[in-house]
């Protein structure tokens, strides 16, 4: 990186917040993307750690003038290589923008982009409130979660990030600071808010978000329902939703996976019976409602062939189940080529899983599949297989995507397109839609400096 640029960056953020040392840079080059498909980062980058939207605006003006690519980095927990700098660039790390305020009266939090999900959860609870979603790793930054419209295990009842964001502060690639929305539940004046949510940071850098919180649920419970096989479990899940109960989360896991994850954590999966499990997370404002829902769910499940459901009520036991569920990817990562992020209509999950069985047989491989069955979002893994080339893995992946598409599904539900899903994007979006996206990008970012090579080609 040009010395003059580095000096200009130092003038903007202060000398202490510009990183050029090779060994320090290493911590800013990767994310959680599975290694075999992860883009190769370049080390020809300079990392800057701004403290305000004004500083970011200055950086982007400089980058625009000099036509230097910029990659924004949050918590580095992404799974599609979104923040990996693949060309000589400025990496903006949001870590210093970590202020958060909770507004108890309006049930909202105003969080800078570098606030972690863990901190948001903690601060909401300190104020007697609750952030119902759990959109992934608690080290993820709010900016990244909003930019990627993250979902997670508790999106069935109250939705994904998009459903919580009512206001944003964004710096455009040309260096303007926009304040969109506010502490308002209804707002039909500002039309741009949702353009920045889920577009993975290609239209602007999110520097602050206003996020809705909920009053704390007084009663919560997690039911683990074991089934003898995948098919029975999967066909039961939509019946729970069709009964009128909307759980906070409805997850699907399989014995081998969940036991691997528990072992990796030094824990024990509490269910000894069954090969496939539904995990139902309930949250209500009184215990009686939770119990009447549990009774109904138990009845539906046993009628559809489940084994005896187990119930976790203490927060320690509930957290343990969520923790084991959340760590499946990390436990499988050493043998994972790629973790996919398919979504299909909830009524088609069963058929999709049957297709996974068929493909596993056809390719003589193992396709672990688990995920947020309550919203049709599943994470089949393409696993390492002795002697396979990258082309063979790609072929299997393509078949999985075709299966999803045939059932009305799509490429990504919560991880985003990032860098690594671009090669399959055309199978899901029309040329016209891609062209429109390109035009929108051009309006916001005429010189294509912000997160180039991400989301659209």
């Amino acid at each position: 990186m040009n010395e003059n640029i580095i000096n200009e960056l130092k003038k903007i953020v202060g000398e202490d917040w510009v990183v050029t040392k090779k060994e320090v840079l290493q911590g800013y080059l990767l994310d959680e993307t599975a290694e075999p498909v992860r883009p190769k980062p370049t080390e020809d980058v300079v990392v800057v750690k701004p403290k305000s939207a004004q500083e970011i605006a200055e950086i982007l003006k400089l980058a625009n003038r000099e036509k230097i690519p910029v990659f924004t980095r949050g918590g580095g927990t992404g799974l599609v290589g979104g923040c990996i700098p693949t060309q000589s660039s400025i990496v903006i790390s949001m870590e210093r923008m970590d202020k958060i305020e909770v507004d108890k009266e309006n049930l909202m939090a105003v969080a800078e982009a570098g606030v972690t999900l863990g901190t948001l959860i903690e601060k909401a609870e300190e104020a007697g409130l609750f952030f119902p979603a759990h959109p992934g790793d608690e080290g993820a930054h709010i900016g990244g979660l909003v930019a990627c419209n993250a979902g997670g295990a508790r999106a069935v009842k109250t939705g994904v990030m998009r459903n919580y964001v009512v206001g944003l502060e964004v710096v455009t690639p040309t260096g303007e600071i926009l304040n969109i929305g506010g502490k308002l539940i209804k707002n039909n004046t500002s039309k741009l808010l949702h353009l920045f949510i889920g577009t993975e940071g290609i239209l602007g850098i999110i520097t602050k978000a206003i996020i809705r919180l909920s009053p704390q649920y007084k009663a919560t419970a997690t039911m683990v329902v074991p089934f003898k096989d995948r098919h029975t479990a999967v066909k039961t899940a939509p019946k729970i939703l069709q009964s009128g109960i909307i759980p906070l989360g409805l997850e699907y896991v399989e014995k081998e996976l969940i036991e691997t994850s528990a072992k990796h954590l030094g824990m024990e999966w509490p269910c000894k019976e069954g090969n496939a499990f539904l995990i139902v997370i309930l949250a209500e404002f009184d215990e009686e409602t939770v119990y009447s829902e549990l009774e109904k769910i138990s009845e539906i499940c046993t009628k559809n062939g489940s084994l005896e459901p187990l119930l976790a009520e203490t927060s320690e036991e509930q957290n343990k189940i969520l923790k084991i569920r959340s760590e499946i990817y990390i436990a499988l990562k050493p043998n994972t080529i790629d973790i996919l992020d398919i979504v299909v209509p909830i009524s088609k999950v069963g058929e999709f899983m049957d297709e996974m069985d068929r493909l596993a047989k056809k390719y003589d491989t193992y396709i672990p599949a688990y995920g947020h069955i309550g919203d049709g979002n599943l994470h089949p893994h393409v696993m390492r297989k002795e002697g396979w080339t990258m082309e063979q893995y790609k072929e299997l992946k393509k078949e999985i995507y075709n299966a999803a598409k045939k059932l009305g599904g799509t490429l990504t539900g919560e991880h985003g397109i990032g860098a690594i899903r671009l090669e399959n994007l055309r199978a899901f979006l029309s040329d016209e839609e891609i062209e429109l996206m390109r035009k929108i990008k051009k309006i916001f970012d005429p010189n294509n400096i912000l997160n180039p090579g991400r989301v659209i080609l």
Partner: protein
Amino acid sequence: MNEMHIIVLIKEVPDMNKVKFDAERGVIDRSSAPGEINPFDLNALETALQIKEKLGGKITVISMGPPQAERSLRDALARGADRAILLTDKRMAGADTLATSYTLASAVKKVGNFDLIICGEKTVDGDTGQVGPEVAELLKIPHVSYVSEIREVSRDRLIVVSELGDAYLIELKLPGLITVTKDINEPRLPTFKDKMRARKAVIDKWTAEDLSDVADINKFGFSGSPTMVVKVIIPQERVKSCQIFKGENAVKDLVDIFEKKGVLK
């Protein structure tokens, strides 16, 4: 053959992840979080269940607390306990560990015919770890604390590993008492069916009066407590700061600070 009778002593504690502290009044606001079985007591109950599965017998759980502690006893019944007794009376309120132990030991006497008492190593709200051993002393039975493993179990003795800094292998003659650590096992989850059954189960409720044939009720509660909690002090979060020293004077400045703080002389 006589069946093994195991008594598990449990306490309902506030969910420590949610409970709030009133820093001004120096008290825990128990209404701020739902009550649940002390997590260590779940390990005690699981230990009892595993022994019962091996040797047969029955498990009685006893708790002292306000009427709402019934909820935790129902949880214990759902997890496999056979009988639950709640010691509840205003005269038992304000008890320190000695009065608590005396009340629990009196209830154990009244239940009678036990082989083994199991407690969690401590409670997450009190954190003393005293009640288990005190109950054993009052009942004049042998006891081992911090048991992390049971190597052998039979009708009249246990061989256990106790983690008292180092690990000790100890033989305990029964009747006796052990307190167990979290490492001893992974407590099982109850089935929903058992939860529902336990919601309708009968909980024996004993007042101070009910124990008067085996105890001096003046030794219960506040009046029987030689110690009292005057105030709970909540440690303030320390604000950490960071300073970067650079340039020619950096070393000298740092040495000055270290000397001022007494780290260097």
